[in-house]
């Protein structure tokens, strides 16, 4: 009998507590400002993403490995030291099949001549970055909907929404994502979304002195990058993964992954 009374009391307390909690939440929701993005229309730009479907083209036969793109990306996006949204790799391959690949500090300061203990029969540079895949593994694994693809084709991360679990970092087969050491959330190339939506080129494309990097719009019939992809032989990285990258390469070798 006594036990039963106690049980009833607890339940009543629970109900009262639930009711109070619910009412408090409702009151809080009505009085305070919303948590996300309720600040209004500041910084809004007149831009229609339906008119664009972006595509990126890297001509490795032109790349000289100066690393100006890496430097520009760092400065434009305040990328923290030791982390890279884009980087450049140097491939040196010998006839014996021996190979050396390096990317000292992501090529932020370019490359130095360095000896290898085999005769180099071919050498080239490969700039790497987020491939902005159409069938992207990184957004699929995000448990909170912080990673997404815009209608114009860019794969972005919502830094407010991201909880920093790092699933997307592991899911990306190209190593294009990292956890920001200060904000502790996922970070990656955005194709300089703040620039391209204003009609500017991504900082890396702007900085490239030899035209190894190009940015185009597939929805523009006269776009030179669109024409190159349509008429020339281009490749993507790791096509066997069926990620369908929007980043195309000219002149990569079988060793490049």
């Amino acid at each position: 009998m006594k036990v039963g009374t106690q049980g009833n009391l607890t339940r009543r307390k629970f109900l009262v507590f639930s009711g109070t909690l619910g009412l408090t939440l409702v009151a809080g929701g009505l009085s305070g400002p919303g948590r996300y993005g309720a600040e209004g229309d500041e910084g809004r730009v007149d831009y229609n993403w339906e008119d664009h479907l972006y595509v990126y083209l890297i001509d490795t036969t032109r790349c000289i490995g100066c690393g100006m793109c890496v430097q520009a990306c760092k400065r434009e996006n305040a990328v923290p030291d030791g982390f890279f949204r884009t980087w450049v790799e140097r491939y040196r391959i010998g006839e014996s099949g021996r190979m050396q690949v390096d990317s000292p500090n992501g090529a932020l300061n370019g490359f130095q001549p360095s000896p290898v203990d085999f005769k180099v029969s071919k050498g080239f540079f490969v700039p790497k970055m987020c491939n902005h895949c159409q069938n992207t593994p990184c957004t699929q694994v995000c448990p909170v909907g912080a990673s997404y693809t815009t209608k114009d084709g860019a794969v972005l991360v919502d830094h407010v929404r991201c909880i920093g679990c790092g699933y997307c970092v592991q899911a990306c087969p190209y190593g294009s994502r990292f956890l920001h050491p200060v904000t502790r959330v996922a970070d990656k190339c955005t194709w300089c979304y703040h620039r391209i939506t204003k009609g500017l080129r991504p900082a890396c494309v702007l900085a490239c002195p030899v035209g190894a990097r190009a940015f185009g719009n597939l929805k523009n019939p006269d776009d030179p990058v669109r024409r190159i992809i349509a008429t020339q032989r281009v490749a993507v990285l790791q096509p066997e993964l069926l990620t369908r990258p929007n980043c195309y390469y000219i002149g990569i070798d079988k060793e490049v992954r």
Binding site: I64, C66, Q71, S147, Y148
Partner: protein, 158 residues
């Protein structure tokens, strides 16, 4: 129907739990979430509103038109001003001068592109410093390149 009271209480609890869940969900789901897809639509605007750091060549033109013209007609025409100098925001912000523009006179800057590397396209102009400099040169000064080359129009005799 001896248990009807219990059942009614349970039902009440379930309904209450659903209401609490719904309220909590409404509160904790960002307002713009799901407008275009499984993400917060407002973030697109937030990304667009990030500050631009690198200007284009046009941002140098108003004050340095002559230099931009000279550089734009020489062999360094494809090299952006801000590559060798610094992003325009370090110099001009909101139409006001924000600081001195960087003017590097370091050989290292030249060698980023022109040091001979076995991975560089052979057709690209590149040098080996010890072969390129006149013989008998003592200690190499850091700004030795500028003795002969103007960085804006570096190609000699043309």
């Amino acid at each position: 129907m001896e248990h009807s009271k219990h059942l009614a209480r349970m039902l009440l609890l379930v309904v209450l739990a659903l209401i609490v869940f719904h309220i909590a969900r409404t509160l904790f789901t960002p307002r713009s979430f799901g407008r275009y897809g499984h993400y917060r639509a407002d973030n697109v605007q937030e990304q667009m509103a990030l500050p631009v750091v690198y200007g284009e060549r046009n941002s140098c033109l108003p004050c340095h038109g002559q230099t931009v013209g000279v550089a734009g007609s020489g062999s360094h025409a494809s090299v952006e001003c801000e590559n060798c100098h610094a992003p325009v925001v370090t110099h001009i912000r909101g139409g006001e001068k924000a600081g001195e523009m960087s003017r590097s006179r370091s050989m290292g800057l030249c060698l980023r592109c022109h040091d001979r590397l076995d991975a560089r396209p052979p057709g690209f102009p590149q040098i080996k410093v010890e072969e390129h400099l006149p013989t008998g040169e003592g200690k190499v000064r850091v700004d030795v390149c500028f003795d002969c080359h103007d960085p804006h129009t570096p190609k000699m005799g043309g």
